[in-house]
């Protein structure tokens, strides 16, 4: 396969969010005035024209207000007939005078309503859509669509089979970037399209029985390195992102082209398939300018962006599809358990940093080569957590999928003076000295073999006081297993007779934000290989530790997120240990220690499972 698929999605917002905000507060005149509608429609028309002139068809997602506007409906019908555009519907841009009066609210986010209100709004919009077009939409969208609402929609409107369902890593970072006022807590999902689980929209479905019935796509294709540690709205395939992040010089936007090219390159990790999407409303192309940029520059940037896609199309290097066309293609070509991978490199900050991303129905994991191959993000999809959101639920705004490791939120290797941070890494010990591989920057190479995604890291050199070694690391991610097998090998050594201790450890916790959650109730345990004797610590912040000489497994069970982590040696013996933290270090650690010599391999496995 050699496929780079593009979705271009436009939405006619008659009352762009930036105007609606002040109107809803009663601070400005009636936003339903004709000049606002005309300007918004003009911008939408221009975006459509730019895409069509470049030879692309689009998916038009009708907003609430545009469904009520005859001019917008007729315009969209025309474009659909003439250019083959798909007409879909979005829950973005809900608010307008009619919405506020009909539903008696200023709420803007569909996922934050009560389930009862979500259903009412959905039914009203689907009904208006059918009145306008004579059929139900095949594709829908929002910044976030919870599994409960998607299940309702799919049951009642089975025609729907594609949805913009999350914004990748829009969570606490996006909230802070927006002066703590943008309530999109949506961290923890896949970065490329997937078929969601019925239990949680973030989790890929494991099989047909778990399939929610739609193909989900993330809102924008984002920089998988910059956005992991920065605002999502600065670094994605939307010219506004590039403007907002100030990643441009005059009219030149090479970063956007690099971003598109890197997404194109993800074919090499995904059996020849890669994907890109761009989803824009009219608000960012306002005639009064946006993000310090005048209207003319905003338009030019969109033209340049589309021209770049058009160049790729001329060379047969990209194929534009509408959302529902893409969904059909995806279902035909992508089995449930096939992982989505990216060995992503820095294209912004001038470093050689690489992050490897892996997503399948069992977990999402990020491996950081800048920290010697440490796991810096781990989301236990195997748990398939049911976490309804919106008014009347336990989590209300917090739609993020919980992590066990998020090293940038929860310290990772570097902490200030005390305690531990969340990370999966390895230390090498010799004669009382200890070096963590987190301090050894390296680069990785990818290959796929027999259902394994194999990440091989370049050797790193470690200097002890009187010994120098080189260590190789390899990660094997086993499709459909929830397991990662890690191999360490001492490939060079200044004293071939020396023996070292390799300590594979995972320091974890759970949460969705930068702040700690209560670990009381977490159970750490280990079992010995021979007599199967079990030791256990029930987490109580008492700084306790247990050691098992000849270990079978060490485990951490986190009932709060129905998850179980298991570490065990593969085809070898090891000493196991587990450790609880304390209030200033709210973490747990499970680990395996093994004595190793030159050329010996040490293999261990990390398994992620649901704990009922």
């Amino acid at each position: 396969m050699d496929k780079f698929i593009l979705n271009i999605i436009h939405r006619p917002e008659l009352v762009p969010e930036y105007i609606e905000k002040t109107a809803a507060s009663g601070k400005t005149e009636d936003v339903s005035r004709q000049e606002v509608i005309s300007e918004s429609l003009d911008i939408f028309k221009l975006q459509q024209k730019i895409a069509h002139d470049c030879g692309f068809k689009t998916t038009i997602q009708m907003t609430y207000s545009s469904l009520l506007d005859e001019q917008a409906v007729n315009l969209v019908k025309h474009d659909s007939e003439k250019y083959g555009d798909e007409i879909g519907m979005t829950f973005i841009g809900l608010t307008c005078k009619d919405f506020r009066e009909r539903f008696k609210t200023k709420e803007i986010a569909i996922w934050l309503f009560s389930m009862e209100d979500k259903k009412k709004i959905t039914d009203f919009m689907f009904s208006r859509f059918k009145q306008a077009f004579g059929f139900y939409p095949r594709s829908i969208g929002a910044y976030y669509l919870d599994a409960e609402l998607v299940s309702y929609i799919k049951h009642k409107y089975p025609e729907v089979h594609c949805a913009v369902a999350t914004c990748w890593e829009e969570g606490p970072k996006a909230y802070r970037n927006a002066n703590n006022s943008w309530y999109t807590f949506l961290d923890g999902g896949p970065f490329n399209p997937w078929i969601p689980s019925k239990s949680n929209i973030h989790c890929p479905a494991v099989d047909e029985s778990d399939d929610i019935g739609i193909v989900a796509i993330p809102h924008l294709s984002r920089d998988l390195l910059a956005v992991f540690d920065g605002p999502g709205s600065f670094f994605g395939t939307h010219p506004q992102n590039i403007m907002r992040g100030l990643v441009y010089k005059g009219e030149k936007i090479p970063y956007l082209y690099n971003l598109i090219d890197q997404y194109k390159s993800l074919k090499q990790y995904n059996k020849g398939y890669s994907y890109n999407m761009i989803f824009v409303g009219p608000g960012w192309m306002s005639k009064s300018g946006r993000w310090e940029a005048p209207y003319e520059l905003l338009v030019k940037n969109y033209e340049n962006c589309m021209a770049y896609y058009a160049d790729l199309k001329k060379k047969n290097e990209i194929e534009d599809k509408t959302m529902s066309e893409f969904a059909l293609w995806f279902r035909e070509h992508k089995p449930y358990k096939e992982p989505c991978c990216a060995l992503w490199k820095d294209i912004l900050f001038g470093s050689e940093k690489q992050l490897f991303w892996y997503v399948d129905p069992y977990f999402r994991v990020a491996i950081d080569m800048n920290q010697g191959g440490a796991i810096v993000d781990l989301r236990p999809y195997a748990a398939k957590l049911e976490r309804p959101v919106g008014v009347g639920t336990k989590h209300i705004q917090d739609a993020s999928y919980p992590y066990i490791i998020q090293s940038f939120y929860r310290a990772g290797f570097f902490t200030h003076y005390a305690g531990e941070g969340a990370i999966k890494s390895c230390t090498i010990e010799y004669n009382g000295e200890e070096v963590d591989l987190c301090t050894c920057r390296t680069q990785a190479h990818f290959k796929e073999k027999n259902g394994l995604r194999i990440l091989s890291l370049n050797d790193v050199e470690i200097e002890f006081k009187d010994l120098t070694i080189k260590v190789a690391s390899q990660f094997e991610l086993c499709e459909g297993s929830g397991e990662i097998i890690i191999t360490r090998k001492i490939t060079e050594i200044s004293d071939p007779g020396a023996s070292l201790i390799i300590n594979e450890y995972l320091t974890g916790c759970y949460g969705t934000t930068e702040y700690p959650e209560d670990l009381t109730g977490v159970v750490l345990s280990g079992t010995s290989r021979g007599n199967k004797k079990k030791k256990e610590i029930k987490y109580a912040y008492k700084c306790r530790e247990q050691v098992i000489a000849d270990v079978d497994t060490v485990q951490a069970v986190i009932p709060q997120i129905a998850s179980k982590l298991t570490l065990f040696p593969v085809d070898t013996t090891a000493e196991g240990y587990f450790r609880e933290g304390y209030a200033f270090s709210p973490m747990f650690t499970i680990g395996l220690k093994k004595s190793c010599k030159y050329k010996e391999e040490y293999r261990s496995c990390l398994r992620v499972e649901k704990e009922d």
Binding site: P231, R244, V247, Y248, Y255, Y257, K264, L348, F349, G350
Partner: protein
């Protein structure tokens, strides 16, 4: 002092931008200066634009084409 208003474009505070917070600046017509209501930043349009350029310092490869993927 007169009421602060939005300026010609939605200029953001360069100091807040440097810490990845988007704060629109307000404009004081009498003083012909922009100011931030979150941090103590005050400056003219010209200096805002200069600081915006300086704020690009971390994008060491953000303005070049990369061909090797």
């Amino acid at each position: 002092m007169p009421q602060g208003r939005k300026g010609r474009l939605n200029y953001r505070c360069p100091i807040c931008f440097a810490r990845e917070i988007d704060m629109d600046l307000f404009y004081d017509q009498a003083e012909d200066e922009y100011y931030c209501i979150r941090c103590p930043y005050i400056d003219t349009e010209k200096e805002i634009l200069e600081l915006n350029e300086k704020n690009k310092f971390r994008y060491k490869s953000g303005f070049i084409r990369i061909r090797d993927f």
